[in-house]
Structure formats: C-alpha cells, structure tokens
Assembly symmetry: C2
DNA sequence: TTACCTGCAAAGAATTTGCAGGGCC
DNA sequence: GGCCCTGCAAATTCTTTGCAGGTAA
C-alpha cells in the first residue's frame, strides 16, 4: 500500500476497509492500482465535505500537482462503481460527491446561505414514498429528497 | 394578441390566464412582446409532457422554423421568472420544464424505463419534512422529491 | 510483455453571451 | 428614435475521449 509511509507503524490505518474495497474492486475487474488512484481515494475519504469534481481536483493537486482532471473523473467513476461514492445532483444542477461506505441511506438538508449539508433520515417518509408509488402502480427503485432552508446560524442574520 | 388568428371569434381562448400573466410580467419589466415569445409560450403550454429545452426548440421550429435556440432559453428564463414554468433537474442531470401556473405544489414519480411522469402529493410527507428541518434548527424554504421506479406497464416486461 | 494508466489537448453537450441588424412602443 | 429583441456564432462550463508515452503485474 503506497500510502503506508504516512502513518507510524502500529497506528490503525485510516479507511482501511474502504481501501480494501477499492483494491478488491480493481482486482475483480483486472484493473491496476496506481499512486494517483490511491491519492484521490485518500483525499476523497478524508474530506468530509461534499466535494465537486473541481474541488477534489484542486485538493488532490496540492500534494500531487501533476494529476490531471481526467484522472479525477475516471477515478470518481470507479469509486461509484465499487460503492464508495455517491453522486448528488443539487437543484441548481451542480454535482457533488459523498461518501457511501458505512453511511446508511439518507437524504439531505442544505443551507441555501452557507451551503451546510446535514444528512437526515426519516423512516416514516420512506414508508410513505413506498405507499405513494404503489398507489400509482409503480415499483419504487430509488429516490432523491433534498430539503433547502436556512440553518440555525444563517436564519438569524 | 398575435395568436388570435388561430382561433375562431367567440371561441374561448386557451391559456388566457397564462398569457395574461406573461403579458403583465413583460410590461412590469418594460420588456416587449414578440411573435417568438408568444409562440414559444403557446407550444410550452399546450404540450403536457415535461420537455427538455431542445425538445421545445424542435417543436417550436415546426411552425416557426426561423426561431433560434437562444430565444428558447431566454424565453424559458422569463417564463420561470413570472411563475409559469418550473425547471426540474433529474438524477441523470437532464433538465426538463413543467407548467407551474394552476398546478399545486407536487412531487414526481418517474418511470426509469419509459420516462412516464406522475405528479404526486402527500401532505404527510410535507409535514414530516418540516418537522425534520425544525429538529435540525433549519427554516425550510423548499424541497425537491423525486421518486424513481418502474410504472405498471414497464414492470411487467 | 501485455494490458492498463496517465496527462494533455481536443471533442462533446448544454447553455450563455456579444453583436449587428430588425422590430415594438 | 430609442430601446429591446432576434438569430447567429463564439464563448463558457462541465465532462468525456483519443492518443502517445509510461507503468503495474
């Protein structure tokens, strides 16, 4: 593992499981590991914010300036395929990426002023969605619920 | 009204209210009416499907071949500003436009196979959303709920 | 050695903008 | 007449693809 050197021997390796998932996925598809892919995964995992592709690109470039935009997109695609990453399309059309592994299904509450994201979950809503879909004769496959408002701090201003 | 000639005298003019809203909006902004704008509004209103910009463009071109793409986009912007039109961004990133005037707030149930749109409404879900937002200290401004699944016909295949 | 991978630049797709000529009020 | 509108082409923005050289296995 190329990133070993960053951590002291004996430290728990952060995101060990996620890295294993990626590694296994690459192997299963006869794809190869590379320092770029490892580094992009690393930056992606340790950034809690929901990043846009160009934000991820800039962050990755900080420590790995020779990385290209296409590699960012290509790697994000792989991360989605192996279930580590989810693509989120907001109402204004911007696309952001979020961690998926270890995160249960959730919806989003987003501050229209400061951009704060809160992950939310309400089983009742999920149930009602199923009921609605059934009433219309649909088999529900997935859904996207975005709530927009002002967060505690921003509503006071 | 430029489109008068299409209808016999004495016929109820379709979409009279919507046209009035557009006219009033243009006046209020000191903007001008034009045959292109009227025609685009007309095609938009009489098409029940949720159109993409290029679909609207093609429909408008049928009877008004000299219309340009930019006029479509510019007019759609005006229609959104005056509340006649709503922009809907789907999960695959495509953008579609729907009628807004006379349509109560609703969410959407979309068939992932044939693209069928069903407008849905569940007051319970709306209530739960408010509750959720409040719990997180947010003031809710709006929301978007898209349900994806297979419709009655498509699920059988 | 044989794929696969990478960065770059070019190509795409969707939308917006600048401009010169034409039309509404 | 003055401002607004239009179509066109060019510019933008975001993302994908082709290619020639480099690299993992």
């Amino acid at each position: 593992m190329i990133l070993n050197f960053i951590f002291n021997i004996g430290d728990a390796m952060p995101f060990e499981e996620e890295r294993k998932i990626f590694e296994d996925y690459l192997k299963s598809k006869r794809l190869k590991q590379s320092s770029q892919r490892d580094h992009i995964l690393d930056v992606f995992l340790k950034t809690e914010r929901h990043l846009k592709a160009d934000e991820l690109y800039r962050l990755v470039k900080k420590n790995f300036p020779e990385t290209g935009f296409s590699t960012i997109y290509r790697t994000l695609k792989l991360l989605r395929e192996c279930g580590l990453c989810n693509e989120l399309i907001l109402d204004d059309g911007t696309v952001r990426f979020e961690h998926l592994y270890g995160h249960e299904h959730h919806d989003h509450l987003i501050c229209t002023k400061c951009g704060k994201f809160v992950e939310i979950m309400e089983p009742q809503i999920e149930k009602l969605q199923l009921k609605l879909a059934k009433k219309e004769g649909f088999v529900l496959q997935n859904h996207r619920l975005l709530l927009y408002g002002k967060c505690g701090k921003c509503k006071k201003k």
